[in-house]
């Protein structure tokens, strides 16, 4: 068997180039190009998985830079984490691209959309395959770029353009941290390869700093607090984009990075604890905002942020497999949720859930898959979310973090609550405005169905029913604690109870007493409601602290440029004009004057000397004689 892993990102790149160059000619066929490239990547990913299981591992491709005695090699990493992520990303990517054929059907820049999608696919897959920080960073920036391009895809809308900028700049802050972390690592450890990270176990403070900075990059990309502000605004982009990038794949890159550097992080304790606590804060913060939001996509965006926090919590307490497991299951049901939301939006052309209601009758397929996804995310057994979330809760409890455990359980409750709030308000009850739902075409509903299947069953690979095959798979090739953990019935019971409780409360509020109770609560806790509804005023705070000063600084710089620099140029010009006037005066009166004066002097002399030339012989004689007299005189005086 030959190694083909490095070809995985190549086909989407070819699709990107083709769609960019020939998009206008291909039109609707550009989707075919992208989807087929995606399918090829999927096949290659599955092949690589099998290849890995047959005992192969990472390999080097070529030498890139050679300096001094060392050389920078570009290689491909093939380990359980990467293989799993490759399959997940390419599978979900393919399904979403198929869905987009229907969703973006009427868009003018159809082929451009698929070009960007392919570019994103190749960047993400490349990121997963990178075996050193440098290559990772290259693709990291690549996915950031695609995210920007796709968020502001409908750039005629100012909100979309602003959202793209916000996403790019916010993740940039994280990326800078990542870059500095990479530099520190190179400087102190002289390596960039992930494989060397396991060896850096000595507790130097520089390593902790590097780890924290690398985590910065993850905070930015995975929208953790305090860099979470871009993700809700990124919902301005088309829904397939939200599904792929901001639910399933790109935001997972941050979690992937932490998982990839897990041994490094765990060797330097404070770093990992930071990860956990940041994750915790993010989770509960985002969940609370999701409870009161009225935009269907934004609820899901905050849900994503919250779930990513959950994953970080899981990794942070030491649960490598827990966090990774949740990453995989979350990718499926979150993508499904977004696609369902997209289907609803496509049908009734509004995103305000206060205007929706009673859609289930007309959109059975969408509605059913929506409910399945919500059950999965709430953690109801035997759906996939239950197994992974449970594992995280178990890890937190057993590693002795009571505070984090409380946070996690509260978040789980809130998750169930707001998801079913969404379900009840959108799908059930009576329509609250003039909407005419109709089911979406097959090209959209078939991916929904496929994802729903995954959302139901994928969790089982990590469950006791399959003897924790997933966890074993993850630790393949490394030494790990022997045996599989016993099922933790306490935690399982607790989490199920909380989830059901959340659903029940949501039912109480939004089905039974829909017209009375929510309003009463809002009125009673008006101040709290306002605080949470306005996202804890974090955006306003950032605006005050950072954006306004930056704008003021740029305005100042502009004034400086205009006044001082341009002013200097103007003044130099004025000075030059004055100088030239002086020079011309000098030239005219002094220089020309000198010349004129010379001429006048010559004229004067000649006028005087002219008088000798009288034309009369007598004068000439006189002159000659006078000269003789002078000579004689001189001789006489001299001789005397």
């Amino acid at each position: 068997m030959v190694n083909l892993a490095h070809l995985i990102p190549v086909f989407p790149v070819i699709a990107f180039v083709t769609n960019i160059l020939f998009g206008r000619k291909l039109r609707k066929s550009s989707a075919l190009v992208s989807v087929s490239a995606s399918v090829i990547s999927l096949c290659l990913s599955i092949y690589t998985l099998i290849w890995f299981l047959k005992g192969q591992g990472s390999y080097t491709l070529f030498k890139w830079l050679i300096f001094g005695g060392t050389s920078l090699n570009i290689g491909v990493i093939v380990d359980p984490l990467t293989c799993m992520m490759l399959v997940v990303v390419s599978a979900i990517g393919t399904l979403i691209q198929v869905y987009s054929i229907g969703y973006m059907k009427d868009d003018v820049r159809f082929s451009r959309f698929f070009a960007y999608m392919s570019l994103f696919m190749s960047s993400m897959l490349g990121l997963l395959l990178a075996d050193n920080f440098v290559t990772l960073y290259i693709f990291w920036e690549g996915v950031g770029l695609c995210s920007y391009l796709l968020i502001s895809f409908w750039f005629e809308r100012p909100a979309a353009a602003r959202a793209g900028m916000k996403a790019f700049i916010t993740t940039r802050i994280g990326d800078t941290g990542l870059l500095i972390g990479i530099f520190i690592l190179v400087f102190s450890a002289h390596t960039i390869y992930f494989s060397d990270l396991a060896n850096l176990t000595d507790a130097r403070p520089l390593f902790t700093v590097a780890a924290l900075l690398i985590f910065c990059g993850a905070v930015g990309k995975s929208a953790q607090f305090p860099l979470h502000v871009w993700l809700p605004d990124a919902m301005e982009g088309p829904t397939p984009v939200s599904a792929l990038i901001h639910a399933a794949t790109m935001v997972a890159a941050g979690v992937y990075l932490v998982a990839r550097c897990f041994t490094f992080f765990s060797a330097h304790g404070p770093a990992l604890i930071w990860v956990a606590y940041i994750g915790g804060i993010t989770a509960v913060l985002a969940a609370s905002i999701a409870v009161v939001n009225n935009d269907i996509k934004r609820v899901l965006a905050y849900s994503t942020i919250s779930q990513l926090g959950f994953m970080m919590m899981g990794l942070g307490v030491g649960g490598y497999s827990a966090g990774t497991f949740h990453l995989m299951t979350h990718a499926f049901f979150k993508a499904l949720l977004f696609l369902c939301a997209g289907s609803v939006i496509h049908s009734i052309h509004t995103q305000d859930i206060q205007k929706m209601g009673g859609i289930f009758q007309k959109m059975k397929a969408t509605g059913t898959t929506f409910v399945i996804a919500s059950l999965a995310i709430s953690g109801i057994p035997p759906f996939s979310g239950f197994w992974s979330k449970d594992e995280i809760l178990s890890e937190i409890l057993h590693n002795g973090h009571p505070v984090l455990f409380t946070i996690a359980t509260v978040t789980s409750f809130l998750t169930a609550f707001y998801m079913f709030r969404l379900i009840f308000l959108v799908l059930f009850g009576r329509p609250r405005s003039e909407i005419h739902p109709h089911e979406s075409p097959g090209v959209m509903t078939v991916p929904l169905g496929i994802l729903a299947v995954f959302a139901i069953f994928i969790g089982l690979v990590g469950s006791p029913f399959m003897n924790y095959a997933f966890q074993d798979f993850l630790h393949l090739g490394q030494a790990h604690e022997a045996g599989s953990p016993a099922p933790d019935y306490l935690v399982m019971g607790l989490s199920t109870f909380l989830a059901s409780f959340g659903i029940a409360i949501a039912y109480l509020l939004y089905v039974l007493n829909i017209n009375i109770l929510p309003q009463r609560i809002r009125q009673h806790f008006a101040w709290l409601y306002n605080l949470v509804y306005n996202k804890y005023y974090i955006d306003e705070l950032y605006n005050f602290l950072f954006i306004q000063p930056t704008l003021r600084l740029s305005r100042l710089a502009f004034k400086f440029d205009l006044g001082v620099i341009d002013g200097t140029v103007d003044n130099i010009a004025r000075a030059t004009v004055i100088l030239s006037k002086i020079a011309s005066w000098i030239d005219r009166y002094i220089v020309d004057g000198a010349v004129n004066m010379t001429a006048k002097v010559v004229g004067l002399f000649s006028l005087t000397l002219r008088r000798i030339q009288t034309g009369y012989i007598q004068t000439y004689l006189l002159i000659a004689f006078f000269s003789l007299v002078i000579i004689l005189f001189v001789k006489l005086i001299g001789g005397l």
Partner: protein, 182 residues
């Protein structure tokens, strides 16, 4: 009669020497005066007359130098012939006798005066500087026969040349003076 005159004068204390000296200075002064009038007088006729007088004075000076023949020749040729010629020409040509000064005249006069005064001064200086040998006049007198002899013998060639020159002048004068053919 002369002796009687000289004796008379001797009685008044005037010796022969003093008479000769005094008369010489008188005549020399007059000559110079006449020469000055020649160059300074506006009227050309007057100038010609003054020239004649001056030439006569010079002839007298020759007498003091024991050159009797030359004095006579001077009077005959210079005063008699040449001055007659001058007077003739003056009569023939000058319709306008008196002429006024022209604009550029003043500086010329002053510069010429300066030049002539300068040359006079130089010559005077040279003359007075030189140590002339004192010679008794009686021994150095040249006789007429001596003059005739040297003219025919020693200076025969210049004598012939002079006659040629005179001939040439004669012919030239006639040619130039001929009236134009109409």
């Amino acid at each position: 009669m002369m002796n009687g005159l000289i004796q008379l004068l001797n009685n008044y204390g005037l010796s022969y020497d003093i008479i000769i000296k005094a008369s010489f200075y008188l005549i020399a002064g007059l000559t110079v005066l006449f020469a000055l009038f020649v160059v300074l007088s506006r009227n050309i006729f007057h100038a010609a007359v003054y020239l004649a007088m001056g030439l006569l004075g010079i002839a007298s000076v020759y007498l003091y130098l024991d050159a009797e023949f030359l004095a006579v020749v001077q009077v005959l040729i210079y005063v008699g012939a040449i001055m007659t010629l001058f007077i003739f020409t003056v009569m023939l040509t000058s319709d306008i006798i008196d002429t006024g000064p022209i604009s550029g005249m003043f500086s010329r006069i002053s510069v010429s005066a300066l030049a002539s005064l300068a040359i006079f001064f130089i010559l005077t200086k040279v003359i007075t500087m030189t140590a002339w040998k004192a010679v008794l006049p009686a021994e150095a007198a040249v006789s007429l026969s001596q003059l005739g002899k040297s003219l025919m013998l020693q200076y025969a060639l210049p004598f012939e040349v002079i006659s040629l020159i005179s001939l040439a002048a004669l012919i030239g004068a006639i040619v130039i003076g001929k009236a134009e053919k109409k």
